[in-house]
Structures are given as structure tokens and as C-alpha cells.
């Protein structure tokens, strides 16, 4: 046993030694590859890896991806980012799914002065007062307003309700911003109901919703719970519409929800494999993705993972250097960059400003309906 351990140590040392190379740009990826958020983190990693394999060199230098798992755990997230910065000396970092994890990692990166691009961490607090944290996604207020705008303006529905996961920052934030925005436009919020992550019976909330007679219910849930809500709503004979947000954007939702998810809508990033008109980046991404994963359709997580790398590549090229501080400065001036999820511009709070898409499940398939401009 001791010999075996010694041998392992030796191998480890050789591996690390082999990595010490100046002509390499090191990009760290920290994401949830295990734990409760692994489904999202894995997809994002695959997106990033795809972008890397298509663009293995930036500024003529080889790019090396260093991947660390954060186990969907805050302590591990902080450890992972520290490790990337201190041990692997990365130039920049991509990650992560889960805003609380991004916040834990962000503090470390901020202190060390290494730029990070968040994939799908949508909590406004992630980039608040941060010089080095950026994100390729838009934030919760923006998306909540988007769903409200689509429901009120495009669909012309005047009575709305929200069903929110109280223990989920993402869900709580979206619900609040949906209500604010909807009321501002002149709509009426007839009910505001809550559940806790892990609940499996939503009959009580759904019965209350049926009594309140809304035209539409905003359900900013994760896809697994969202699918159950939709199923139980159908069983109870609810006749109102449901609209969700990007966490419902997962290929699994149709498998889980069956015919109950028919007609369900959700806001998402302006990308879906079913989009009729894609930009060049999105086309290339879809094509290459399908080559590698013929049995798995890409979703927004894959696209966001991909976009982070594209955004980083753009910044490094414009900076003409892989120095962390220079990458940061360049990231701040990202403007109208063509990415899979539309044209990306980084605003003053380091959040991406981009179009928002609406997807509806039609005939058991995700169908891209169009673009919406949120009235914040």
C-alpha cells in the first residue's frame, strides 16, 4: 500500500512538472461536475470543451483547459478557484453554474486579480462590486421582466400568478422581478405562492392557483420540479398557461413531463437548435455539437459554456496578451460580440446584455418562438 501511494505521488509530480510551460495559455474551468447541480455543470463544461477543441490556439499559443469540480459546494468552489489561481497559475477562469458557487469563487479571484466569466450564474449579487467577475448570461431581473413583458404585451394576458421555490435564490429573484415588472405594465398579480426544493406534491399550491383564476402562471423552477408541477396541474384540470425561465431549458423536460408540458413556454437565451435563423457562430456550434453528441441536442447551458470561451478568446486577442489584468480590461469593453446566444455586450455591471428568446413546447418538441425585449 505504501509503495502504491509513493508511486501515485511520483506520477502526480511528473504530471505537474510536465505542465510547467510558458508558451501555454491556461484557462481554468470550475463547474459543478458532481453534486446536485451536476446536470447543468456537465453540459456547460462540454460546451466549453467543444469551443476549446475548435479553437485550440489563441494568439498562436496553445490553450490548456484545467478543469476542477466544485461538487456544487460553496467551500469546494472557493477551494477550486484558489487551486486554479495558486497552483495552476491560470490566466483566466470560466465558471460556474449556480450563483452561490460563483460568489464563493468570485471573492478569491477578485483578491488575486484573475478574471472570471460566469456561465449561468444569474443572481445580481455575483458581479456586484466586482472588478474581475463577468458573465455571459443575463441576470434575474432582466429575465423576470422578459417573461412579464412576453406575457403582458405579446400574449395580452392581464392576470398573472407566480409559483416560486422559496429556497432557491434564482427562483425567488425571478419571481420578484416578474411581479414588479408585470404590475408596472398594468397587469394584475392574483396570487403569489411558494414551495421548497425537493417538494413532490404541489396539489395545495395548484388548487389555490385554480381558485385565483390567473391567465398565466410564472414558474421559475428547475426542470425536474417544473415538470412535476406541470403534470400535476394537468391532472387537476388547470386551464391557465405556464411560463418558466431558462432553468426549464433542458432536453429532459419533455421526457419527464410527457404531454403535460405541451404548450409550456419559457424564456431563455436567444439560442435553440430549433431556431429558424441562426447566426454564423450558432450554426457552427450546432453543427459541431451534433457531430460529437449525435444523440444529445444542445441546450443553452452548452451554448453558454461555449460562449464563455469565445468571449475569453476575443478579449485575449483584443488585449494582445494573456496577462490577467489585460484580459480583464478587454473583457470590460466587449461589445456586439457574435456568440451562440446572440450578440453579447458587457454592461457597466459586468453582465451580458443580449436578446432574450422564447421557447414553447409544441408537439413534444422545443420550438423557438421568437425574441422579446424586456421592459425593465
Amino acid at each position: 500500500m505504501r509503495k502504491f501511494t509513493a508511486a501515485l505521488m511520483l506520477v502526480l509530480m511528473l504530471c505537474t512538472a510536465a505542465l510547467a510551460d510558458d508558451d501555454v495559455i491556461k484557462i481554468g474551468v470550475f463547474n459543478c461536475l458532481t453534486g446536485q447541480n451536476a446536470f447543468g455543470g456537465q453540459l456547460e463544461l462540454e460546451g466549453t470543451q467543444l469551443a476549446h477543441s475548435l479553437n485550440p490556439e489563441i494568439l498562436g499559443k496553445k490553450v490548456e483547459l484545467i478543469i476542477v469540480d466544485n461538487k456544487s459546494d460553496k467551500v469546494e468552489a472557493a477551494n477550486a478557484v484558489t487551486r486554479l489561481i495558486e497552483n495552476d497559475k491560470v490566466n483566466a477562469i470560466i465558471g460556474t453554474y449556480g450563483s452561490s458557487l460563483a460568489m464563493a469563487g468570485g471573492e478569491v479571484a477578485e483578491k488575486a486579480g484573475v478574471p472570471v466569466i460566469g456561465t449561468s450564474c444569474t443572481n445580481p449579487l455575483v458581479t456586484q462590486d466586482k472588478k474581475f467577475y463577468f458573465r455571459v448570461c443575463f441576470i434575474d431581473p432582466f429575465q423576470g421582466a422578459g417573461a412579464a413583458t412576453y406575457a403582458f404585451r405579446n400574449l395580452g394576458l392581464k392576470r398573472a400568478a407566480t409559483l416560486v421555490d422559496m429556497s432557491n435564490d434564482y427562483s425567488v429573484g425571478l419571481g420578484k422581478f416578474f411581479r414588479d415588472s408585470y404590475k408596472k405594465m398594468g397587469g394584475q398579480i392574483v396570487a403569489s405562492l411558494f414551495y421548497q426544493s425537493g417538494d413532490t406534491d404541489f396539489t395545495a399550491q395548484l388548487t389555490a392557483l385554480i381558485d385565483a383564476k390567473p391567465d398565466i402562471v410564472f414558474l421559475p423552477a428547475y426542470f425536474a420540479e417544473g415538470a412535476i408541477v406541470l403534470k400535476q396541474a394537468k391532472e387537476l384540470g388547470a386551464d391557465f398557461k405556464f411560463i418558466g425561465a431558462d432553468a426549464m431549458d433542458n432536453p429532459e423536460i419533455v421526457t419527464l413531463g410527457g404531454d403535460a408540458v405541451e404548450g409550456f413556454m419559457h424564456t431563455t437565451f436567444a439560442y435553440d437548435p430549433s431556431m429558424p435563423e441562426m447566426n454564423e457562430t450558432a450554426k457552427a456550434f450546432t453543427e459541431e455539437w451534433n457531430k460529437i453528441h449525435p444523440d444529445k441536442a444542445p441546450n443553452v447551458n452548452c451554448a453558454l459554456g461555449y460562449d464563455c470561451y469565445i468571449m475569453l478568446k476575443d478579449a485575449i486577442e483584443r488585449a494582445g496578451s494573456a496577462e490577467p489584468a489585460k484580459i480583464r480590461d478587454a473583457l470590460e469593453t466587449t461589445k456586439d460580440l457574435p456568440t451562440v446566444t446572440g450578440m453579447t455586450t458587457i454592461n457597466a455591471t459586468h453582465d451580458a446584455e443580449k436578446d432574450m428568446g422564447i421557447v414553447e413546447i409544441r408537439g413534444g418538441k422545443k420550438t423557438f418562438v421568437g425574441i422579446v425585449v424586456p421592459e425593465v
Binding site: 504530471c15 458532481t34 478543469i67 476542477v68 489561481i85 460568489m103 449579487l125 429556497s167 420578484k176
Partner: protein, 611 residues
């Protein structure tokens, strides 16, 4: 001398470690500093849960909840008003909270106190439950705390969590806190109170019978453990700099539980080793998730692989060391030094017990008049006399149950007159009772172990000087093994797991003696060991008493009515009559002493044979 040596070694070690921490930033990068911080925080958490579960035996699954309370209290106190007002974006913060502010150290203490307060609130109703129920109840409590934090958005910012908490948790801060917690824990465990805690864990019923208010003790230990949980949570929050309710799920408790199980339930050393291993292993094993090239074979990294390997390692620990790495043992500097043998008695003729003019009066009634007695090492001495002669009173004076009205009692050269029974017991004297006083509901092994607990009552002030009195804790770790060993020597090992009350009468007598022996006496008082025995059992008893003396190097004083036993087994006999010491001598001399024949044998010959 040994304790002084150990104290010096400890001080040297602490100084060296402080120098190491001071110099750490020069040769350790931020990553390793972070790991070091985590080790200290995990150790604090592990120690506090170990106090509750490992040491006092309360299966609590609520630690994450107390951590959450501590983390939030500290964070809300150290965050600046500007930060707070920027963060509450969903609901407005309570106005009073905005301007509440305290220095970090104060916030740590308040965090601990807040957690302790909630711990107390939980403990009062919940600790009336035991075992699994307690586990479920505390698990529920932790979940309630988490849900409250999620829902009390104006106070806690709800599920959005808090961020930007100043990173006050430095190496000195985390290790300093661990140092203080460790010092307090070690001191407490070495003290009288620590012995009581373990007694409650080992046998609550018996502990109650020994006059311990077990409920109060449990509440106290639970509250203290919760303080540690709150402190650890606060340090954790200030290390990670962001907290949210999801951080404090049941998995957080499992993590700490894992540390104390791996390290050894009930071992402080084990908790430290456990937190070191668990924290570093999880990080060190990260390499197995990286793509590795060995001899040109590319092995792609598999996410989650380190968890698999880590779990396997855990299983191995549990298989090969079921009681954890340390079991219940503790670290001591003594392991670096060869053991010195305890000095033997200088001569076999040394006086063990000496009574001079001992008088005992109850009001006007004189129970004992001028008792003079000298018992030498290795002797088996009998104390006889008719009923009401004052034999048991003499026993009670010697063993500290009664304070002599006058006169001196010297035991091993020291005066013990007027000392309480536990002090007398510590001095090396133990006794059995006329009517068997076993803990009938407990197993034979447990009975003997409780006997050892008495040995652990030390002066409270000793606990103020940690590591000085190491001899104390060493014995404690071996209690179980010693108890088993004792049972083996007394031929009771086969009954170890039987209920004490189910034993045959003779075996119960022997068990009571075994329990007395567990206190490691030099001197044993046996009060009517042959009472109620048939002739065959008495025969066995006589052999047994001699064997006891030989094997345990004892001096024995016994009260007995069975003259056959007294005359056969005793080297020397004292006779009392109505509190007056009327005769002493060898069995032969006593048999022919006219005073004895008149006062005792002559007048009550029938009584002697009836017993």
C-alpha cells in the same frame, strides 16, 4: 515531573507552531493557506460535535443548523451598512439591522453564544428523548433553522444569501480559535466534569444512581457543543466570504460526522487527525480527476472519481479500525518516552492503614470508642464482633462515609480522617457493601466500567493546567480494556454482556469486588463477603480472597460473621464489642482470648454459626 516535562513540550510545540503560522505565507501559497484554515475550522466543528456525540453520547444531527446561526450572526455583525443596503434587493432589510456592527472577535463570541442559546432552547425539550429520537429531532431542528433563514428575508436576505463578508479568518484567527477550543475541551475532559460526561455516555442509569443529574449534564454538554458549532460556522463564513442557507444542509453535518467517526468517537486527538485527513485528502485526491498520462496511455479525467476513492478509503478505515483511527485514545507526549514503572512498596511490612484513638459519636451515643488499629501491607485482617459492635461504623469511618469525632486515620502515610469517600477512593481504597449494590439493569462489563469512573474525580483546579496531569487521561482510555481484563481475572468474562442481576449470587459478590477493583485500590474493605453463601460458596470465597490479595497486591480488611471464613482466611483479627476495641491478635490468639469468648463467642456462639 512527567507532567512538567509534558507541559514544557506542549509550550515548545505551540511556540513552534505559531512561528510556522507566522512564516506560512512565505512558503505556502494561498491555496495551502486556505486548506490550513479549513483544517482548523473543521477541527473546531469536529471537536464540538464530538463533545456532544462522541463524549456525552447524544446522537445529534443538528450541527449544520448551529453553524448557520453562527455564520449569519457573525456576518450580519461584520458587514458594513453600505454592503447591507446594497445586498437586500428583494426585500428591505430591517432598519435596526443596517447599523448593527461589531468587531470580528466580538462577532465570533456572539455567534457562539447565539448558537449556544438556540442549542439550549432545543436541548431543554429534546434531550428528554434519547438515542435515535434525538437524532431525528435535531435533524428536524437544523432543517427548521435553514427554512427560517430562507424565509426571513428582511433579516437574512433569504435564499440570495450574503456576500462580501470581510475575509477576517486568517491563519492566526482560525488556529487561535482552535487552540482555545482545544485547550478548553482538553481541560474540561480531564476534569471531574469530563469524567461525568463520559459516565453519562457509558451508562446514564448508573450515572444517575451515582448522584449525577444526567439531564443537566447533557444540556450543558449540548449547549457547549453548540457554541463550538456557531463559532465554526462564523469562521467558515468569514473564510468563504459568502453564505447562503443551502450551505448548511444535512450534508454539512455528515461531513463533520465523518471526521469524528474516522478520527475516533470520543477522542479529541482523533477529531484533529480526522479533520486533517478529510480536508487534505479531498483536495489532494483532485489529481485523479485530471487527465493522466502514464506510459503514453491517456486516462481521461472522470469527475467524481475522487469521491469514489475517498469513500473507499473511508470504508477501509472503518473495516480495519472500527473505532476510528484513534478509537477513544488520546495523544500524549508519553508515547515518546519509555514507560517508567510505578515504584513498588518499599517493604512488605509497610503500614497501610493506621487508626489512632478514633472515636465516632452520634449525638450522645458513642458508636466507636478509642479504636487503634495498624494494618500492614499484604495482610488480610478480620474485624469481628457481635451485631451492633460498631464494625460497619468503623468501615464507614475508614472509607470516608462518616467523619471521625476525634482521632487520626492514616492511609499510606497520609491522614485521610474526614476526607469524603471519593477522595478516600482516589487515595487507593475501595469497598464493597453488606447488601450487594450492583447496577442490576446494566451488564457486568458496564458495572465494572462505572467502578472505574469514580477514579476520575479530580480537583477542579487541576483542569486549569492542561497537559500537566496527563496521567489522569491515560487511564481513562484504557478503562474498557482494563474492565475486561478484570472480569477475565475474576472468571466473570463469560458473563460480560449479561445483565448483572441475572448472575448467580456468588458471582454477584465477585462482580461487586471486581467493580471495587476497577478503581485500582491498594486497600480493599469487604463488608460481609460471605453473607448468604452456602458452605461450598464460602469455601470458594476463601480461596478467592487469598487469590485477590496475591494477584492484585492488595491489603484486605473484612467484616465477617462466618467464623470459619474469618479464622481460615485472616492473618490478624480485631474484635469490637459495643464500640470498644476489646482484643486483637492472630486467629489462634483470638480463639483463646477470654475477653472475646466472654463478649462474643461465649455469649453468641449460635449467632456465629447462624450467619
Amino acid at each position: 515531573m512527567k507532567s512538567v516535562r509534558n507541559l514544557i513540550l506542549t509550550i515548545i510545540f505551540v511556540i513552534l507552531f505559531a512561528v510556522f503560522l507566522e512564516k506560512a505565507p512565505e512558503f505556502l501559497n494561498g491555496y495551502w493557506q486556505r486548506i490550513l484554515n479549513l483544517i482548523a475550522i473543521n477541527a473546531i466543528l469536529a471537536l464540538s460535535l464530538n463533545l456532544i456525540y462522541g463524549i456525552t453520547g447524544m446522537f445529534s444531527l443538528g450541527h449544520a443548523g448551529f453553524m448557520a446561526i453562527g455564520a449569519y450572526v457573525s456576518a450580519l455583525l461584520v458587514l458594513s451598512p453600505a454592503q447591507k443596503s446594497a445586498m437586500w434587493i428583494l426585500e428591505d432589510i430591517y432598519p435596526f439591522l443596517l447599523n448593527v456592527n461589531a468587531p470580528f472577535v466580538v462577532s465570533l463570541i456572539l455567534a457562539g453564544l447565539a448558537a449556544a442559546f438556540f442549542g439550549l432552547l432545543v436541548a431543554l425539550p429534546v434531550l428528554r428523548l434519547g438515542g435515535d429520537y434525538l437524532g431525528i429531532a435535531t435533524l428536524g431542528f437544523a432543517e427548521i433553522i435553514r427554512i427560517l433563514i430562507t424565509n426571513m428575508a428582511p433579516l437574512t436576505n433569504g435564499s440570495l444569501g450574503l456576500k462580501g463578508i470581510p475575509a477576517y479568518t486568517t491563519l492566526f484567527m482560525s488556529w487561535g480559535c482552535l487552540g482555545i477550543v482545544l485547550l478548553c475541551t482538553v481541560c474540561m475532559l480531564k476534569s471531574n466534569f469530563g469524567g461525568v460526561l463520559r459516565a453519562v455516555r457509558d451508562d446514564e442509569v448508573a450515572a444517575k444512581m451515582m448522584g449525577i443529574n444526567t439531564f443537566k449534564i447533557k444540556v450543558l454538554a449540548f449547549t457547549l457543543g453548540c457554541f463550538g458549532g456557531g463559532l465554526g460556522g462564523a469562521l467558515m463564513g468569514n473564510l468563504i466570504t459568502t453564505i447562503d442557507p443551502k450551505m448548511f444542509m444535512i450534508t454539512q453535518t455528515y461531513n463533520i460526522l465523518m471526521i469524528i467517526v474516522v478520527g475516533g468517537l470520543g477522542s479529541v486527538t482523533g477529531s484533529i487527525i480526522g479533520s486533517f485527513l478529510v480536508t487534505t485528502m479531498l483536495e489532494w485526491l483532485r489529481f485523479v480527476e485530471n487527465p493522466i498520462t502514464i506510459f503514453n496511455i491517456n486516462i481521461p479525467g472522470i469527475p467524481g472519481m475522487r469521491m469514489v476513492i475517498f469513500s473507499l478509503l473511508l470504508i477501509m478505515v472503518i473495516i480495519f479500525r472500527r473505532e476510528g483511527i484513534m478509537g477513544m485514545r488520546e495523544f500524549s507526549w508519553d508515547i515518546f518516552f519509555p514507560k517508567r514503572k510505578i515504584k513498588d512498596f518499599e517493604s512488605k511490612t509497610e503500614t497501610v492503614l493506621e487508626l489512632q484513638d478514633v472515636k465516632l459519636k452520634f449525638g450522645g451515643l458513642s458508636a466507636i470508642e478509642n479504636l487503634n488499629m495498624k494494618i500492614r501491607h499484604w495482610e488480610i485482617v478480620g474485624l469481628i464482633g457481635p451485631n451492633g459492635a460498631g464494625k460497619t461504623s468503623a468501615f464507614n469511618v475508614i472509607s470516608g462515609f462518616y467523619k471521625p469525632t476525634s482521632g487520626t486515620i492514616k492511609f499510606l502515610g497520609k491522614s485521610i480522617g474526614g476526607l469524603s469517600p471519593d477522595k478516600v477512593c482516589q487515595a487507593g481504597m475501595s469497598r464493597t457493601f453488606q447488601n450487594i449494590r450492583l447496577f442490576g439493569n446494566e451488564t457486568v462489563l458496564q458495572n465494572v466500567m462505572i467502578g472505574s469512573r469514580i477514579r476520575q474525580k479530580y480537583h477542579w483546579w487541576m483542569s486549569l493546567l492542561p497537559f500537566v496531569f496527563t496521567d489522569v487521561i491515560k487511564e481513562d482510555a484504557e478503562v474498557r480494556a482494563q474492565a475486561m481484563n478484570l472480569l477475565d481475572q475474576l472468571g466473570l468474562d463469560a458473563f460480560a454482556d449479561e445483565k448483572a442481576s441475572s448472575l448467580p449470587y456468588g458471582a454477584q459478590r465477585r462482580l461487586e469486588i471486581a467493580r471495587a477493583l476497577a478503581t485500582k485500590p491498594r486497600f480493599l474493605l469487604l463488608d460481609e463477603p460471605a453473607a448468604g453463601m452456602n458452605p461450598q460458596e464460602s469455601e470458594e470465597l476463601m480461596k478467592f480472597i487469598r487469590r485477590l490479595r496475591d494477584e492484585f497486591d492488595l491489603t484486605i480488611l473484612l467484616i465477617e460473621h462466618d467464623m470459619k471464613v474469618v479464622m481460615n482466611v485472616c492473618d490478624y483479627i480485631h474484635v469490637l464489642d459495643q464500640g470498644v476495641h476489646i482484643a486483637e491478635g492472630t486467629p489462634e490468639e483470638i480463639k483463646s482470648n477470654p475477653k472475646v469468648i466472654e463478649a462474643y463467642l461465649g455469649a453468641g456462639a449460635s449467632e456465629g454459626s447462624a450467619a
